[in-house]
């Protein structure tokens, strides 16, 4: 069975670099620890200051509430400013967003694997070379697999209410207990009509 075509549900915009290094330090007296810019902060900067989206739009893209987006965005700017002023290195890392690639499960050796090169189609299992693999959708997996036992969170896009994601329950079927809206997966950027 060949993998289904790339779904738009997941957008992948990993940063092209892993950080920035200052140069020409006037004196080494300043702080030298790095500033850690989380991926969601990077993404907020990218959406707001590079793609020039307004906070409302950026919040929809990042599947977070608007106040949350604003908080992430201010944190991002504060960190970048701190790095500039104090001559500190910026390391882009971690955070709550993950730019997840497509995952597959191999029926013949029962491994799971992802496709790190989105442009290239997977033709065989990287472990056993079998072509008997299929698209792996953690959302619909019923077993308590550690792959799905992640720290995912469902969030209400309209009021920001958060609750731990339950396996096998699509977020959109969860109803926000605060305001009755449908929930979304936190940090999974969605394409919607802006």
């Amino acid at each position: 069975m060949s993998p289904r075509p790339f779904r738009l549900r997941k957008i992948s915009n990993p940063p092209v670099i892993s950080g920035f290094k200052p140069y020409g330090n006037k004196k080494n007296g300043g702080k030298t620890e790095s500033v850690f810019l989380h991926l969601e902060e990077y993404e907020a900067l990218r959406l707001c200051d590079y793609e020039m989206l307004n906070h409302h739009q950026a919040a929809i893209f990042m599947a977070v509430s608007r106040p949350t987006l604003t908080r992430i965005y201010s944190k991002a700017r504060q960190k970048v400013a701190e790095a500039l002023v104090q001559g500190r290195q910026i390391i882009i890392e971690g955070g709550k967003i993950y730019f997840d690639s497509e995952w597959y499960s191999c029926k013949s050796c029962s491994c799971y694997f992802n496709n790190p090169e989105k442009q290239e189609e997977i033709k065989e299992c990287p472990l056993c070379r079998s072509s008997n693999f299929m698209n792996y959708e953690p959302d619909h997996e019923e077993t308590e697999d550690t792959l799905t036992r992640c720290m995912d969170i469902c969030i209400c896009p309209s009021c920001g209410f958060e609750t731990p994601h339950r396996f096998g329950c699509p977020c959109k079927d969860e109803i926000c207990p605060e305001c009755g809206n449908n929930m979304v997966r936190k940090g999974a950027p969605l394409i919607r009509n802006l």
């Binding site: 029962s110 790190p116 472990l127 697999d145 550690t146 995912d152």
Partner: protein
């Protein structure tokens, strides 16, 4: 191409370590030269940041794939951005030799 395998020991008879960041050893296998490198994991017992430090370690060996029993969500994002392929094998009884044999098929 280099593949990292998480291992609980430093021999071919050792088993696949199910933990990535805190595995005992990283075994770096070069599929072209069939060369093997046994790297003790210095992050095995650290309090925090074992995952990212281990990513850094294997990335410095230019591996293109990592075989382990599980990857945390933070590790997934790091490896995704480094374009290193993750292979999850939930078979703690598999020996390193068996895994290398699969790769050589």
């Amino acid at each position: 191409m280099k593949v990292a395998i998480t291992s609980n020991g430093n021999s071919l008879e050792s088993k696949l370590d199910q933990r990535f960041g805190r595995c005992g050893y990283f075994i770096i296998y070069d599929t072209e030269t069939q060369g093997l490198e046994f790297l003790p994991n210095p992050n095995k017992d650290v309090q925090e940041g074992a995952g990212p430090a281990s990513v850094q370690l294997v990335a410095s060996r230019n591996v293109q794939k990592i075989i382990s029993g599980e990857f945390g969500i933070k590790i997934k994002s790091l490896l995704d951005s480094l374009k290193i392929q993750m292979i999850v094998l939930k078979q703690p009884e598999k020996s390193i030799k068996e895994i290398i044999d699969m790769l050589n098929n």
